[in-house]
Every structure is written in structure tokens, then in C-alpha cells.
């Protein structure tokens, strides 16, 4: 029964992971850069929500919205300041520049909020169905993330901007010949990625207490999911997120807390070596 509990928790965890992985996937698909500090932006969002609600006593909903806006703005600043000048640079230079932003964010957080765990004290009830115990916060995060994933799907498939983003992801040169402005699309994409990170942060508020090195694990988890699901495949990403979520929860439950991430990393290594296009990805590699 307890293992069933772990599986259900894993599915819920997978919902949030899916949203994280979508941001990374969009970034990789459209701009062909690895968003190295994605987990760190979620961390910054959590800190902003903490500061606004606990220190300044602003209502939670408002501070969540502020956090989403701030993270989107952060992404726009990074795009204009760092990504845009490096778009034509070798891939590794982009990678390392973004890794330095990770260092900047982590150490700024350390300087501002210190090394202690910071959390917003929200107590939500625990649902019990028979012997199953479900934390409402996980359930809300799961449902919320699914709704946002659905909205994202609609945005990418039903609006002109979404069409432009997908077109640029497929073939930048052709799309710009068709009258799309890659620079504008890049900017919109990064802002969108920022909004996703902010939403994830808002849903994570009741679940996690945050500390400066909190983000690294989540960035890596998002990588693992993107690679497992296949680059550019939204359905694959969703499937992979649930697989990784369940595997992590069950492995941690059966062995030790580190067992979860270890299992996820091992899956990543096997997949990237043997099936680099992922579960549902197309058989194309740069």
C-alpha cells in the first residue's frame, strides 16, 4: 500500500516536472541553447514569493503574480544582455555564459537570503482515501501544472505567435523568409519560458522550503526529462515526466533518499547513449 502511495506521489511530482521540462524544451527547440539556470530561476521565484508574503505581508496570490512577472523580466534581461550577443557564438560559449548566470543567481540568493531554508508556512489538509494519503499541495500543483500545459499546447497550436515559435523551431531561415522575425520570436519564447518557471515556483510554494542550491537538482531533472522524452516532443515530455516522477519516488521510497536522483541519472545516461532521440522524438540530430 505504501508503494502505491509512492507511485501516486510520483505521478503528482511528474506533473510539476513536466512543466519544468517544457520550459527547457522550448528554449532548446527554438533558440538551440541549453537553459542552464532554469531550476535557479524557479528558486529565485520561490524566494521572491517568500519575501513578499512573509516579510512584507502581501497576499500570496499577488506575490505569486509578481514572481511570475519578475522571472519573465529576468529572462528578457538575460536574453538581451547575454543570449542575443552570443547567438552566433560557438555552442559551448553560450553554454558557459549561461552556467555563469547560474553562479550569479545562486550566490546572489546566498548573499540576500542567506543559507538557511526559507519557506512560506501554508498548511493544507492531507486527504486520506483508505490507506492512501495525498497532500493537497501536491494535488493542486499537479492539476495546476496540467492546466498550464494544456494552455501552453493551445497557445502553441492555435495562435499566430505560437505558430511562429514552432516555425522558427523547425527552420529559422525558412521562417524568417516567410516574414517572421526571429529576434522577436526569441524574445517572446524566453519570456514565455520565464512565465513557466514563475508558474512552477508558485505551485511549489506550499511544497518546498528553498535554499540557494535548491535549483540545481531541478535543472538536471528537467534535462533528464527533455532527453528521455525527445527534444521538441511535447507528448514525449509529458510521458517522460511521469515516468521520471514515479521512478524517483519509488526508488527513493525503496532505497535511500539519494536513490531517486541516482535512478533518474542512470536512465538519462542509458537513453542519451542508446536512444538519443528519446522515447517519442523524431530521428533527427544536429
Amino acid at each position: 500500500m505504501l508503494i502505491l502511495n509512492a507511485v501516486i506521489n510520483g505521478i503528482f511530482f511528474g506533473g510539476s516536472l513536466a512543466l519544468l521540462a517544457y520550459g527547457l524544451n522550448l528554449c532548446f527547440g527554438v533558440l538551440n541553447i541549453i537553459h542552464f539556470f532554469y531550476g535557479q530561476t524557479v528558486m529565485v521565484g520561490l524566494y521572491i514569493i517568500f519575501t513578499l508574503t512573509v516579510w512584507l505581508h502581501i497576499p500570496l496570490i499577488v506575490s505569486c503574480l509578481v514572481a511570475v512577472a519578475v522571472i519573465a523580466a529576468l529572462h528578457i534581461v538575460v536574453h538581451l544582455g547575454v543570449v542575443q550577443p552570443l547567438l552566433k557564438a560557438p555552442l559551448l560559449n553560450q553554454f558557459l555564459a549561461l552556467a555563469s548566470i547560474m553562479i550569479i543567481l545562486e550566490n546572489s540568493a546566498m548573499g540576500i537570503w542567506g543559507a538557511t531554508y526559507r519557506g512560506v508556512p501554508i498548511s493544507l489538509p492531507v486527504l486520506s482515501i483508505g490507506e492512501l494519503y495525498i497532500r493537497t499541495s501536491n494535488l493542486i500543483a499537479f492539476l495546476g501544472c496540467l492546466v498550464v500545459v494544456g494552455l501552453l499546447y493551445l497557445f502553441l497550436n492555435k495562435t499566430y505567435t505560437g505558430l511562429a515559435i514552432r516555425a522558427i523551431a523547425q527552420d529559422t531561415e525558412m521562417a524568417s523568409l516567410m516574414g517572421m522575425n526571429p529576434r522577436r520570436v526569441y524574445l517572446i519564447t524566453l519570456a514565455l519560458v520565464g512565465v513557466l518557471a514563475g508558474v512552477v515556483a508558485a505551485f511549489f510554494v506550499p511544497i518546498y522550503a528553498v535554499h540557494p542550491h535548491w535549483g540545481g537538482t531541478f535543472t538536471l531533472m528537467a534535462f533528464v526529462i527533455v532527453v528521455l522524452g525527445g527534444l521538441g516532443s511535447l507528448a514525449g515530455g509529458l510521458l517522460a515526466a511521469f515516468i521520471i516522477g514515479v521512478v524517483m519516488m519509488v526508488a527513493s521510497f525503496l532505497t535511500i533518499p539519494e536513490g531517486g536522483p541516482i535512478a533518474a541519472y542512470l536512465i538519462f545516461l542509458v537513453v542519451i547513449l542508446l536512444r538519443p532521440q528519446g522515447l517519442l522524438g523524431a530521428r533527427v540530430r544536429a
Binding site: 555563469s100 538536471l220 539519494e258 541519472y265
Partner: protein
């Protein structure tokens, strides 16, 4: 003209002489400590550039330092095996690990940022495994070497001087290997592979073998750095020695100095360690985090404006000037 050509050699000999006599200068022990740290990181960063200059950006050099260090320290702590013996087992372990990782990555054609992310995951995996076996390794709290005072047979010295010379020797070894690789046909082969892997293999270069070979050499030198570091500091920590952070520090030192030149990584190590120590001593640890924020910005600026690094850009500028001067001299009869 001949005298001028010998000038760099003379300068190098002078620097080497200074380096050898340095620990005997009656200065505070602290400076010897800083020099040891600079030499170790300089050696490891140089080892990292063996791969990086051919486009293989490894983010697992932290793990390559940690594996042999943990092996030899654990063997010493639990079986009282002298680190002089244990280090060879540690180096064997690192060689095997590097062969497995290198062969797997290169055989399946992981290049560019796929390779970087894969090595990053490997680093985290190694760090997590070390943390998971916390009964043996001490987990996140780290592992302290059982102190014996001065015991040369067990690689322990109270004085810093033996460590100073070991670190210096390691640095010279790493620079020597860099020169050897640079002058051999391995350099040509790897440069060709770095330019275009398919084209290189089509003219008969064994891509997997060359890349794995250089990865193993790089890992071995980094592993020696890890062992010296462990014996000197007498404390190993999975987060500060093995995980992403030290791997990125190595990368940053390499980029800061310039990863395409012989002395670049060393210059990067001097600047970064020097600044770090200066800030730590003058302003205390509170400012350390902000110092890292500063490094982050500096690295971003360097990557955007000086992609060849400080020393690399300087050397290139000098070279250009010399070339244009030579052109002018030959143009005027």
C-alpha cells in the same frame, strides 16, 4: 635576434627559480598555502584543457579529482594502507572510469553540449553515490583523513614545503604533457576531429581511440591533483570537491585565462584563486558569495567580448603585432 628568442626561456627559468626558492623565503606560511592551491588548480585546469581545446568540454573533472582522492583516503582510513600505494589504486579506478565514460560517449558520438550535459550528470551521479554511502564516506559532512602528524611513509607532513614541491611538480608535469600533446601527431588528429569528426574519420583517423586516449590522460592528471589536494587539506567533501561547483570552477579558470594556450589555465588559476583569497582575507566569508557574483559577471563579459580568454587574447594581439611588423620589415628593402 638570437638573444631575443632566448628571452622567454630566460624569463621562464627565472620564474622556475623563484618558484623553487619561494617556500624558503621567510614569509608567512599563508603564502605557501596560496601557492599550493594555485599550483593544484592550475595543474587540474591544464589537464582539463587537454580535452577542452579540441571541443570536448568536460564537466566531470570534479568527479575525476574526487574518485582517486576518496579511494586512497578510504583505503588509508579503513585498512591503514599507505596513500603512496592507495593512490595507484585510485588512479587505476579513475583510468577505468575515464575509459568507460570516454568510450561510451565517443563511441555513440556525443559531442558539443550533449557531451557537456552527460559529463555533468556523471559528476552529479558520482557525488550522489558518495553521499549515499554515508556510513563509509561521511556523506555531505565530508571525510577527514586520520591524522598522524609527520609520517612521510603515509603521505602526511606537518610542514607545507613537501606539498609545495609536490604541487609544483604536478603543475610542471601537466604543462609538460600539454607540450607533448601539442607537438605530437595526436594534436593534429584531435584538431581535425574537433573541426569535423566525419571528415576526420573518413581519412582514417580513429576518432574514438584518440578522444578516449586524451580523456584518460586528462582524467589521470586531474586525479593526481585530487590526491595531492586530499592529502594536503586532509578533508574531502562531496559538494565542494566532487559536484558541479568545482567542475565549473575548473571550466571558469580555463576560460578566464584562455583555454587554447599553454599558460592560459595557469593564469586563470592565479587570478581566480588570488582574488578569492584576497577577498576572503580582507572582507571575510560574508562577501565570498558576492565575489562569486562578480566572477559570474566577469566570465559572461569575457565570453562575449574576449572568447579567447585574457592570456589568449594578449598572446594573439602580440602575435598579430609581430606579424605586421615582420611584414613591414620585409616590405621595405
Amino acid at each position: 635576434m638570437k638573444r631575443l628568442a632566448n628571452l622567454p626561456t630566460a624569463v621562464l627559468l627565472f620564474i622556475l627559480l623563484m618558484a623553487i626558492t619561494f617556500p624558503f623565503v621567510p614569509l608567512s606560511q599563508y603564502y605557501t598555502h596560496v601557492m599550493i592551491i594555485i599550483f593544484i588548480w592550475g595543474a587540474v585546469t591544464t589537464a582539463w584543457t587537454y580535452m577542452a581545446r579540441f571541443g570536448m568540454i568536460s564537466l566531470c573533472h570534479g568527479a575525476w579529482m574526487g574518485i582517486p582522492a576518496y579511494t586512497s583516503v578510504l583505503l588509508f582510513n579503513f585498512y591503514h594502507l599507505s596513500p603512496w600505494v592507495g593512490m595507484w589504486l585510485g588512479l587505476l579506478a579513475i583510468a577505468v572510469a575515464a575509459v568507460v565514460v570516454g568510450y561510451a560517449c565517443f563511441r555513440f558520438g556525443l559531442t558539443g553540449h550533449y557531451f557537456a550535459v552527460t559529463t555533468l550528470v556523471i559528476t552529479e551521479l558520482v557525488a550522489l553515490v558518495i553521499i549515499a554511502f554515508r556510513d563509509v564516506t561521511g556523506g555531505r559532512l565530508g571525510l577527514t583523513v586520520n591524522p598522524l602528524g609527520t609520517a612521510p611513509l603515509y603521505f602526511q607532513f606537518d610542514s607545507k614545503v613537501p606539498f609545495y614541491f609536490m604541487a609544483l611538480a604536478l603543475l610542471l608535469l601537466s604543462l609538460y604533457i600539454w607540450r607533448k600533446i601539442d607537438q605530437s601527431k595526436v594534436q593534429k588528429a584531435l584538431a581535425a576531429i574537433g573541426e569535423d569528426e566525419v571528415a576526420a574519420s573518413s581519412i582514417g583517423i580513429n576518432v574514438v581511440r584518440y578522444k578516449t586516449g586524451v580523456a584518460v590522460i586528462s582524467a589521470l592528471v586531474a586525479g593526481m591533483g585530487g590526491i595531492v589536494y586530499g592529502q594536503y587539506i586532509m578533508y574531502l567533501n562531496p559538494v565542494s570537491l566532487v559536484s558541479i561547483a568545482p567542475s565549473l570552477v575548473i571550466v571558469f579558470m580555463g576560460i578566464l585565462g584562455g583555454m587554447l594556450t599553454l599558460w592560459g589555465p595557469m593564469i586563470g588559476a592565479i587570478i581566480m584563486t588570488g582574488l578569492q583569497e584576497y577577498i576572503r582575507v580582507t572582507y571575510g566569508t560574508v562577501l565570498m558569495g558576492w565575489a562569486w557574483v562578480g566572477y559570474g559577471f566577469i566570465i559572461v563579459v569575457i565570453i562575449i567580448f574576449l572568447p579567447k580568454g585574457l592570456y589568449g587574447t594578449l598572446i594573439e594581439g602580440l602575435h598579430k603585432r609581430r606579424m605586421s611588423k615582420a611584414a613591414r620589415v620585409s616590405a621595405t628593402p
